[in-house]
């Protein structure tokens, strides 16, 4: 991208930010444009949130020249990181910010989904709150639409507000082509090949919920986004009927092979 080149060309221009995003633990952050940082409008309200706001801003924009002791320097440094994070939350929902984060997403800089059925789908960072010091950063998987804790403890301490609650949803509104195909593939607990009754009953109920949703969407003529092969709701019947023996534990503590009760999803689909 053009602005990447121009920035790295102007040697010392982004010294602090370069250092910040390349330091260990800050892999989730992208570099905020100089233009964005110097536009006061973009910083509205942050002066009350950040201690030594002006010094911190000077440090971030590399115009800091205050002569002070190490303690003071350290405090300002901390404020600068906080300020950078808060501006970052605003920046990444702008067109250029989204593009930068998209690049990082494609490189899987934020890690990959730990869920086996998501097949290492890349994650996006997100916050559970837009207010700072509430919740640490979480990772969102667009494939299973769930949130996960970062693997590494150095990421687990980053404030979630530095990414915000909206960014990861906005990026898919702006780039709808990126929405991954959804899959009905899932794990079913089994004992010697038999499904476990309690879990299987829940799975059947969930499958019903899914089919209800897909019927709702079809009625509204909205694409449900499931993979081609999964598109046939009625097709689920076969799966259920094939493997309809289950194991359960009766109240007496004995294993009981219950007669299969499959096909709920399939029949419900047939009725609609």
């Amino acid at each position: 991208m053009d602005d990447f080149v121009s920035e790295s060309d102007s040697e010392y221009a982004s010294y602090w930010r370069d250092w910040f995003i390349s330091s260990r633990g800050n892999e989730y952050f992208c570099e905020i444009d100089e233009d964005y940082l110097t536009d006061r409008f973009n910083l509205t309200g942050l002066n009350t949130e950040v201690q030594y706001y002006q010094y911190a801003l000077d440090l971030v924009t590399d115009v800091f020249d205050l002569d002070c002791d190490d303690d003071m320097r350290e405090t300002i440094e901390k404020s600068a990181r906080h300020l950078y994070g808060l501006v970052h939350a605003r920046y990444i929902v702008t067109t250029r910010g989204l593009a930068k984060m998209l690049d990082k997403y494609k490189k899987a800089d934020f890690g990959k989904c730990p869920r086996v059925m998501c097949h290492s789908h890349p994650l996006l960072p997100m916050g559970l709150s837009d207010l700072p010091n509430m919740k640490p950063v979480k990772l969102y998987c667009a494939r299973c639409e769930d949130i996960y804790n970062p693997k590494s403890s150095r990421h687990a301490t980053i404030d979630g507000a530095y990414f915000g609650t909206s960014f990861h949803n906005i990026i898919f509104q702006v780039y709808p082509a990126l929405i991954p195909a959804k899959s009905t593939e899932r794990y079913v607990p089994r004992v010697y090949g038999f499904k476990v009754h309690a879990a299987a009953a829940l799975v059947r109920w969930q499958n019903n919920q899914r089919d209800d949703m897909r019927r709702r969407l079809r009625k509204m003529e909205v694409d449900s986004g499931f993979k081609e092969g999964d598109d046939d709701i009625e097709g689920d019947e076969d799966d259920d009927l094939e493997e309809d023996e289950e194991i359960g534990i009766g109240e007496g503590g004995e294993a009981v092979v219950a007669g299969g009760v499959g096909g709920v999803a399939g029949h419900a689909g047939a009725i609609a």
Binding site: V116, Q173, H197, W205
Partner: protein, 357 residues
């Protein structure tokens, strides 16, 4: 690696203490020594006999001690019904000598690891094995669920296949009933078949009283012991209701929002996967047998039991031969009744549309 002389550590404990082998339990020697437990493994593992000797530490560690080893071998050979002629012995000794070459040792080593893994798969489903694994579970050796709404509950190591070489070990979270890739890459060299598909679910059936909602940092508590009169003791479908996917359901599902507004289901980028994390608010909805009985109470033609909607079955009228097994509780009675109604697997339908088919 075979144990070095002087070290009291067995092959098994050194194997289990290797980096990346934290999930393994130490298989007891009695279990391995029982041939019944090894049925069928001969054909799956190359150099089976040598591998087994390595696991059990009956093998000498030096070439110099070959003779000792040969004697042992001879016993085995004669035990197999061969007559111990000099010729056979010479031939055997020769083969044996070749097998002691260093490169072969690494083959045996990897065979031993494979064999140990396959035995381990069976062992952790045995009474002693699952007990050992429960101790490791309590100590949090298997890690915690990465899903935010599961609140760091303990996971269990599982395989997605029982056949070695197909996939690596995964972690099963009983709180969301899903499987995850272990966070550390060192587990990506551990074969999932060494844990098998059965262990995870069998563990929950064997120890139904663990409070599955407890985080890995907290100590494990038992569900019923703490509060016998509390409703946490209620069972459904064979498990405590509190233990049916405690990480799922209302409040535990991520709702996408933009500037505080929920993203509509009708949006192209709207939520499509929430069903995966849903759970009925009224958990008794999952008692399919009871629901079926309530909805089909008086209608079924071949219903030869007098039954009312409270699930009271007049057991005296049922012929014992038609019952598979007597289990206490109305739930089980209903299940029996269902089995009687229709001998073949059948579908249960919420609105009763199936009953006439």
């Amino acid at each position: 690696m075979s144990t070095s002389s002087g070290s009291p550590e067995s092959w098994i404990s050194s194997f289990c203490s290797l980096l990346g082998h934290e999930y393994f339990a130490e298989v007891s020697e009695e279990f391995i020594e029982d041939d019944f437990n090894l049925t069928g493994l001969q054909t799956q593992v190359a150099m089976y006999k040598e591998a087994l000797e390595m696991i059990l530490d009956v093998e000498p560690e030096d070439d110099d001690e070959d003779e000792e080893d040969e004697e042992e071998e001879d016993e085995d050979v004669s035990g197999d019904g061969h007559d111990g002629t000099a010729l056979a012995r010479d031939h055997h000794g020769e083969r044996r000598h070749h097998s002691r070459i260093a490169s072969d040792l690494s083959v045996i080593e990897s065979s031993a690891e494979m064999l140990y893994g396959l035995i381990h798969q069976r062992f952790i489903c045995s009474r002693t094995g699952i007990q050992l694994m429960s101790e490791k579970y309590e100590l949090g050796h298997f890690g915690v669920c990465p899903r935010t709404n599961c609140n760091q509950t303990r996971t269990l190591p599982v395989g997605l296949s029982d056949i070695p070489g197909e996939d690596t070990v995964k972690l099963f979270c009983p709180s969301c009933l899903d499987v995850y890739v272990p966070p550390n890459s060192r587990f990506q060299t551990v074969d999932g078949a060494f844990f098998g598909r059965t262990f995870g679910a069998l563990f929950l059936l064997t120890f139904p009283e663990y409070d599955l909602s407890k985080a890995g940092t907290e100590t494990v508590t038992s569900l019923t012991r703490a509060s016998p009169n509390d409703e946490s003791g209620v069972m459904l479908n064979g498990v405590y209701t509190n233990n049916i996917a405690p990480g799922l359901g209302a409040g535990k599902i991520y709702e996408p929002r933009i500037y505080g507004f929920r993203v509509s289901e009708l949006a192209r980028s709207g939520p499509r996967m929430q069903w995966l994390r849903k759970k009925p608010t009224d958990i008794t909805v999952l008692d399919e047998a009871k629901r079926f009985a309530e909805e089909h109470g008086g209608e079924s033609e071949d219903d030869d039991e007098s039954m009312n909607l409270n699930g009271q079955v007049a057991a005296a009228t049922t012929s014992p031969s038609s019952q598979r097994r007597r289990v206490g509780g109305s739930n089980a009675k209903l299940r029996q009744q269902r089995q009687k109604q229709n001998g073949s697997p059948m579908a249960i339908e919420t609105n009763g549309a199936e009953s006439e088919l």
